[in-house]
Amino acid sequence: MSALLEVSGVSVSFDGFRAIDNLTFAIGAAELRAVIGPNGAGKTTFMDIVTGKTRPDRGRVVWGETSRDLTALSESRIAQLGIGRKFQRPTVFEDQSVADNLMLALKKDRGPLAVLAFRPSAADRARIADLADEIGLAGALDRKAGELSHGQKQWLEIGMLLAQDPRLLLVDEPAAGMTPAERAHTADLLIEAARTRAVVVVEHDMEFVRRLGCRVTVLHEGSVLAEGSIDRVTSDARVIEVYLGR
C-alpha cells in the first residue's frame, strides 16, 4: 500500500530544544492510526508540522499521489489539499451558530469571490442536518457554539472535520472531557471515517486507544519509540518505562 502522507527525517527545535528529532512516519490512504506518548513527546508539534503551522528545520513531508512537499505550502493551501485538523482544546467559533460553524467547514470553494456569492443549496442544508444528527447536535443548530458544553464543542469540531471531507484527519485528544458513552460514539465515528480516509488520533486514554483497534505509534522525545499493535507496544519494555509505567 502506498502512503498518503510520508514524513521523513523531520527535526524541529524551539530555542535549541529539540521538540521533534529525526521523525519518520507514514500512513496509508484508508488507515486508522493512534499516536501515544508522554506529555511533551511532540505529538501536537507533529501535527503542527504536517498542517504547516510549524516549519521543520530539516526533513520532508510528502503528500499524495503527486508527492507534493507540504513544507513549502501555507496552512490554507495544505487544508485545501485535504488535511483536516482537530485541536487539543476545542476551537469552534463561539460567536456563531452551530449551523454557521458547520457551513464554514463544509467542503466548498474557499476563495473570497466564491464565498461572497455563496448561497446554501437544499443539498448543503441537508448535509448540515445529517452531520448535526451524526454528532448529536441536531436540536442545537441555531444555538451559538459558545453555549455548548465542553463535550458538545468537541463534537461540533469533529462535525466540522467531517464536513470538510478531508483525505487525512488529524485528531488531537478527541475524547478529553467526554462521558464514557460519548467516547464510545467518538471511537465509532473515527473508525467509520477511517474506512475511506486516513485518520491519525492522538490520545492519552489507553482504553480509548484499545477501542480504536488499530496500529499504534509511540512518540518519545520527538521521535518514534515503538510502532505496532496495541498489545505489542504495551508490552514493550521501553514504552512501559517512559510512558505506561508511571
Binding site: A79, L104, Q164
Partner: protein
C-alpha cells in the same frame, strides 16, 4: 432533522432577515426629507445652510465609520489609518474643484485682453493662482489629471484602493497583526500627513486645497441649494454603503470574516486564505472611506494635511467603539452622536460649567470627556450605544412563526429565546 430532505425554505424577505437595516433606512429617509423641508434652500429655513452642511458632513462621517466597523468590528483589523483614505478622497475631488474653478476665473480675467489667450497662458495663469501661496508657478506632475472630473473621480476610488492594496499586501503577507498592525497604520498616516505638509509635495503644503464649496460654473446657484445637493448625495451614499456592508457581513462571507476576527489560525486550517480576505476587506473599506471623504470636503470647503493627522483615525476608532462595533447601525450611531456632540462642545455653544469656583470650558474639556467616555464604554459597556437596541429588542415577545408552544412547552424554548 425531520425536514433534512425537504427543499430549502424560501429565503425570507430582506425586511425580515435584517429588520435593523429596514429601520435604519427608513429613519435615514425620514431624516433626509425632514432636513430638506426645514432647510433654507427649499423649505422653511428653520435649519441654516451651515447646519445643513454640518449634517451632511456628519452623514459622511457615518459612512467612514461603517467602513471602520467593517474592517475592525467584523474583521478584527484595528486600522488606525482609515482617515488617511478619507483625506485622500477629499484631495482627489478637491484638485478638480480647485482647478476647474480657477480656470474659469483665469479665462474671464484674460478675456479682457485684446488678443485671445493661448492655452499656455491659461495654464500659467491657473498655476500661478493655485500655487502662488507656496511660491511655485508650475503644475506638479500629480495635477496631470486635475482638469478632468471623470479622472479625478476615478482617483477618489483608485488611489485609496491601491494604497490600501499595497500596504495591506505587505502587512498581511508578513502576518503583522494586532497592535503592531495598528502602529503600522498610524505610521502610514503620519508619513502621508508629513509628506503633504511639505510645500513641494505639489498639494499646496499646509494650506491644503480651499474654496471647495464653490462648484465650478455654478456660481449662480446659492450655497443654500448646493448644500442640499451634497446633503442628499451624502445620505444616498450612506444608504448604499449600508446596504453594501450589510451584503458583505451577512451570509457566508460575513461568517468567514467574523471567524477571522475571533481565531484566524483556525480559519486557516479550514482552508480559507485569511490574508486574501483581510486584503479584500481592508481595500474595500479604504475605497468606502475615500468616497466618504470626497463627499465630505466639498461641504467642509477645505482639506489640508492636518485632516490626515494620526489622531483623526484614532477618533474614528473611538466613535465606532462608543457606538458599538460589530453592528452596522452601532457605527452610525457612534459617529453621529460623537461628532455632533463634538461640534456642539467645541463650537462654544455648550454653557461653561462652574464647579467649586473653577470654570470648566467645554472647548478645552471636551476631549477629556470624550476620552473618559471611551474608557467607560470599553470597560463597562463593550456593546456601546448600539447595545441599547438589544434592551428594546429583548422586550419583544419571541417570534414563533405561528406555532404554539404546545401543552408541555410552557417555558421559552431555547432556540426561540436566543434567536
Amino acid at each position: 432533522m425531520t425536514d433534512a430532505a425537504a427543499p430549502a425554505p424560501r429565503r425570507r424577505p430582506l425586511a425580515l432577515r435584517h429588520p435593523s437595516a429596514v429601520v435604519f433606512l427608513a429613519l435615514l429617509a425620514l431624516f433626509t426629507v425632514g432636513v430638506t423641508l426645514l432647510a433654507e434652500g427649499m423649505g422653511t429655513g428653520a435649519i441654516s445652510t451651515s447646519f445643513v452642511k454640518t449634517l451632511g458632513k456628519t452623514l459622511c462621517l457615518c459612512l467612514v465609520a461603517l467602513a471602520m466597523d467593517l474592517v475592525w468590528g467584523y474583521c478584527g483589523i484595528l486600522s488606525l489609518g482609515h482617515m488617511a483614505f478619507f483625506g485622500i478622497g477629499g484631495y482627489a475631488i478637491g484638485m478638480w474643484l480647485m482647478y476647474a474653478r480657477t480656470e474659469i476665473i483665469v479665462v474671464q480675467s484674460l478675456a479682457a485682453q485684446p488678443l485671445p489667450p493661448t492655452p499656455d497662458e491659461i495654464a500659467d495663469g491657473i498655476a500661478g493662482q493655485i500655487f502662488g501661496v507656496v511660491g511655485a508657478s508650475e503644475f506638479p506632475p500629480i495635477w496631470a489629471f486635475a482638469h478632468s472630473l471623470p479622472l479625478q473621480l476615478a482617483a477618489v476610488v483608485l488611489v485609496p484602493g491601491l494604497l490600501a492594496l499595497v500596504f495591506g499586501w505587505l502587512a498581511f503577507r508578513s502576518r503583522v497583526t494586532g497592535v503592531y498592525l495598528s502602529i503600522l497604520t498610524q505610521a502610514m498616516t503620519l508619513a502621508l500627513a508629513l509628506y503633504l505638509f511639505q510645500n513641494d509635495s505639489g498639494l499646496r503644503g499646509n494650506n491644503g486645497l480651499s474654496g471647495l464649496q464653490n462648484l465650478p460654473g455654478l456660481d449662480h446657484v446659492p450655497q443654500a441649494t448646493v448644500s442640499l445637493w451634497f446633503f442628499w448625495a451624502s445620505a444616498a451614499a450612506l444608504a448604499l454603503g449600508y446596504l453594501l456592508c450589510l451584503r458583505v457581513v451577512s451570509g457566508k462571507f460575513g461568517s468567514v470574516i467574523r471567524a477571522i476576527r475571533d481565531d484566524e489560525a483556525r480559519v486557516r486550517f479550514l482552508g480559507y486564505p485569511v490574508e486574501t480576505y483581510k486584503l479584500v476587506v481592508f481595500t474595500l473599506t479604504a475605497v468606502i472611506a475615500g468616497i466618504a471623504g470626497a463627499l465630505y470636503y466639498p461641504q467642509a470647503g477645505i482639506v489640508n494635511p492636518a485632516e490626515i493627522a494620526p489622531i483623526a483615525s484614532i477618533y474614528l476608532a473611538v466613535w465606532v467603539a462608543i457606538g458599538g462595533r460589530g453592528r452596522l447601525y452601532g457605527a452610525v450611531i457612534g459617529a453621529a452622536a460623537v461628532s455632533l456632540l463634538s461640534t456642539w462642545f467645541t463650537g462654544g455653544q455648550a454653557p461653561d460649567l462652574h464647579l467649586f469656583g473653577v470654570t470648566l470650558r467645554w472647548v478645552d474639556w471636551w476631549t477629556v470627556l470624550l476620552g473618559l467616555s471611551f474608557v467607560a464604554v470599553t470597560l463597562l459597556a463593550p456593546k456601546g450605544l448600539g447595545g441599547l437596541v438589544d434592551l428594546i429588542a429583548a422586550r419583544r415577545p419571541p417570534e414563533r412563526h405561528g406555532a404554539d408552544l404546545g401543552p408541555d412547552q410552557g417555558a421559552l424554548r431555547e432556540r426561540e429565546a436566543d434567536r
